[in-house]
């Protein structure tokens, strides 16, 4: 599974992207977040306030209940500020 980070989530995790193999039982974005938080203090800090984190699965907006599986591209980022 490819996980991408943008804006301050990239700064906090120290990563633009990473390949991860989540443990069995990770079937949703919410469960993936709980797993990612354990990877480093920076990850834990990035996911500290989920109210300001948005997610896209395979480039479509999703939520904590969105299913994830091997091979997916999952991106985490703050609310968008373009235009």
């Amino acid at each position: 599974m490819k996980v991408l980070y943008f804006a301050w989530l990239k700064a906090k995790t120290g990563l633009g992207e990473e390949d991860v193999i989540p443990p069995d039982g990770v079937a949703t974005v919410g469960q993936l977040v709980e797993f990612l938080k354990t990877r480093s203090p920076g990850h834990a800090a990035a996911f500290e306030a989920m109210g300001v984190v948005r997610v896209a699965v395979n480039q479509d907006y999703g939520g904590l209940d969105t299913p994830v599986k091997a091979g997916d591209e999952v991106a985490f980022f703050p609310p968008v500020t373009g235009g």
Partner: protein, 158 residues
């Protein structure tokens, strides 16, 4: 109908010309250009100075979302043409960031579609601004007023 995500600048005059070039059925074109301001927030008197900003985006998803927004506009209004150009990378005050434009036989559709394109783009297209100020870098926060502007269009469906 087109969307473009690019680092380089664009020429609004040339884009405007392209909308009507070689055709006589277009009744009106509405074009909006967004620029980099040199201060933070809403008030130039109290906002900290902005020396420059950098726009980050999500290659792939950005294009996908802009195409969806443009398709939604075409579904809602009878447009002759529509265009979205959005830049990324480092931009200085006064530089152009974004262009949205729509043309139609009549002005109402052109005005409304243009406004819709920028309102939805601001809340749905994955871009993020970081402002470079004398005090350091600061990620721009999303504005509730932008969410309100976008959600207006949830209710207005011609």
């Amino acid at each position: 109908m087109a969307i473009r995500v690019q680092r380089e600048d664009f020429d609004p005059g040339a884009e405007l010309e392209r909308f009507s070039s070689g055709r006589t059925d277009v009744g009106g074109i509405c074009l909006f250009v967004g620029l980099v301001r040199d201060y933070m927030g809403h008030d130039p008197a109290s906002g900290a100075a902005v020396n420059a900003m950098t726009l980050e985006h999500y290659p792939g998803m950005t294009e996908r979302q802009l195409e969806a927004i443009e398709a939604e506009a075409r579904g809602r209004w009878p447009l002759d043409d529509a265009l979205v150009i959005h830049r990324y990378g480092k931009l200085e005050p006064g530089e152009r960031i974004v262009l949205v434009a729509a043309s139609s036989a009549h002005r109402d559709a052109a005005f409304e579609a243009c406004r819709f394109l920028i309102d939805w783009l601001k809340t749905k297209a994955p871009f993020w601004k970081v402002e470079h100020t004398p005090e350091g870098d600061a990620w721009v926060d999303a504005k509730e007023s932008d969410d309100a502007a976008a959600s207006r269009w949830d209710r207005v469906k011609p």
